[in-house]
């Protein structure tokens, strides 16, 4: 399998148009692995959905939230190449995402859906 984008491949480096392109790029093997992980987690999530004892347990919701959050993060980091890109983009995305997440939690609390915090 050819590695097309690898920054450490001499062949690729020779073709980089100017020195501007200094940040590392994800490679084909990264893309492939991310897709594999995404598929595996999705299978795991759906599997969990069909285990009644797990669904009934307290771990079900946190486990699903963690799994989907992980999928969310790896798509953003590798496919949206935020891991490799200018830090400005990270700020433009995470700032609003934090405000959005806080708003969601606050709303769920205000509408009585987060019983953990109430007695």
């Amino acid at each position: 399998m050819e590695i097309h984008n690898s920054p450490d491949s001499a062949e690729a480096a020779a073709h980089v148009p100017d020195a501007h392109e200094d940040h590392a790029h994800p490679t084909w093997s990264t893309y492939w692995k991310v897709a594999l992980i995404l598929t595996a987690i999705t299978v795991g999530e759906v599997w969990a959905y069909y285990i009644p004892s797990f669904v009934a347990s307290r771990a079900f919701v946190p486990a699903l939230l963690i799994m989907s959050a992980f999928k969310f993060v790896i798509v953003v980091m590798f496919y949206m190449h935020l891991k490799y890109d200018h830090k400005l983009f990270r700020a433009l995305f995470t700032g609003p995402l934090l405000i959005a997440g806080t708003t969601l939690i606050a709303l769920l609390f205000l509408f009585g859906h987060l019983t953990v915090f109430q007695h």
């Binding site: 399998m1 050819e2 097309h4 984008n5 062949e11 690729a12 073709h15 148009p17 100017d18 501007h20 392109e21 994800p26 084909w28 893309y31 492939w32 991310v34 897709a35 995404l38 598929t39 999705t42 999530e45 759906v46 969990a48 959905y49 669904v55 079900f60 919701v61 699903l64 939230l65 799994m67 989907s68 999928k71 969310f72 798509v75 953003v76 496919y79 949206m80 200018h86 400005l88 983009f89 433009l92 995305f93 700032g95 609003p96 995402l97 405000i99 959005a100 997440g101 708003t103 969601l104 709303l107 769920l108 509408f111 859906h113």
Partner: protein
């Protein structure tokens, strides 16, 4: 990306369009969080069925509705959308590397990987397939007796997933526009930024679905 000829000086060295699309994505976070919040606020508060995860018997007719969400079908469509993101990164890589000579011993797969048209087409096709699944889901729900007017679940479910579907539709049109340009004159490294912007939008629509799939379909 640096191959894009920018006529004007910019303070960060970045292209205006890429900053704008990230700001747009930040804004979209608030849009979808409003929809998701509403769905979750109204979860379990519908006064009549059909319901997403529970059976419901209509007291006036005695008819029992099964839980309406079809997890196997939606798992398939989720998988298709996730794979479309893989196709999208391959399309972008192919555009960025266009014009680079392939090694003499390049095999079939290597040559296929370099085809931006193939991967743009595959991405659009996967997006369209996802929309097909959604159309199937919506019609079967309506046939089973759940419309946007039926109950709080129907209103918030169709609006949330419908908004997401509208975003996918816009993305498919965008991909087809890029594909037609690629077919007409070929997309090269100088167009990579345009493809990158579309890709960022496309992946964002994908991550929104990752959240929706868990919060709406899997968590009961």
């Amino acid at each position: 990306m640096s191959a894009t000829v920018t006529h004007h000086y910019t303070s960060t060295g970045l292209d205006n369009r890429k900053i704008a699309i990230w700001a747009f994505i930040g804004s979209e976070c608030m849009l979808f969080i409003s929809l998701i919040s509403t769905y979750l606020i109204y979860k379990g508060r519908s006064v009549v069925g059909p319901l997403p995860h529970e059976k419901w018997t209509d007291p006036s007719t005695g008819h029992t509705f099964a839980p309406i969400l079809n997890i196997p079908v939606t798992s398939m469509s989720t998988f298709v959308l996730l794979m479309s993101s893989l196709f999208m990164v391959l399309a972008l890589a192919a555009v960025q590397n266009k014009g680079r000579p392939l090694p003499a011993n390049a095999g079939w797969w290597t040559r296929k990987l370099a085809s931006s048209q193939l991967w743009l087409f595959m991405t659009a096709l996967a997006g369209a397939t996802f929309l097909g699944f959604q159309a199937y889901e919506f019609t079967s729900f309506v046939n089973e007796g759940l419309t946007i007017k039926t109950n709080l679940f129907g209103s918030s479910f169709f609006t949330l997933t419908g908004f997401h579907g509208a975003h996918v539709t816009a993305g498919v049109l965008w991909l087809l526009a890029l594909l037609s340009i690629d077919a007409r004159r070929g997309l090269g490294p100088s167009d990579a930024l345009n493809v990158d912007i579309c890709a960022l939008y496309w992946h964002f629509v994908d991550v929104v679905w990752i959240a929706i799939f868990t919060l709406v379909y899997l968590i009961r």
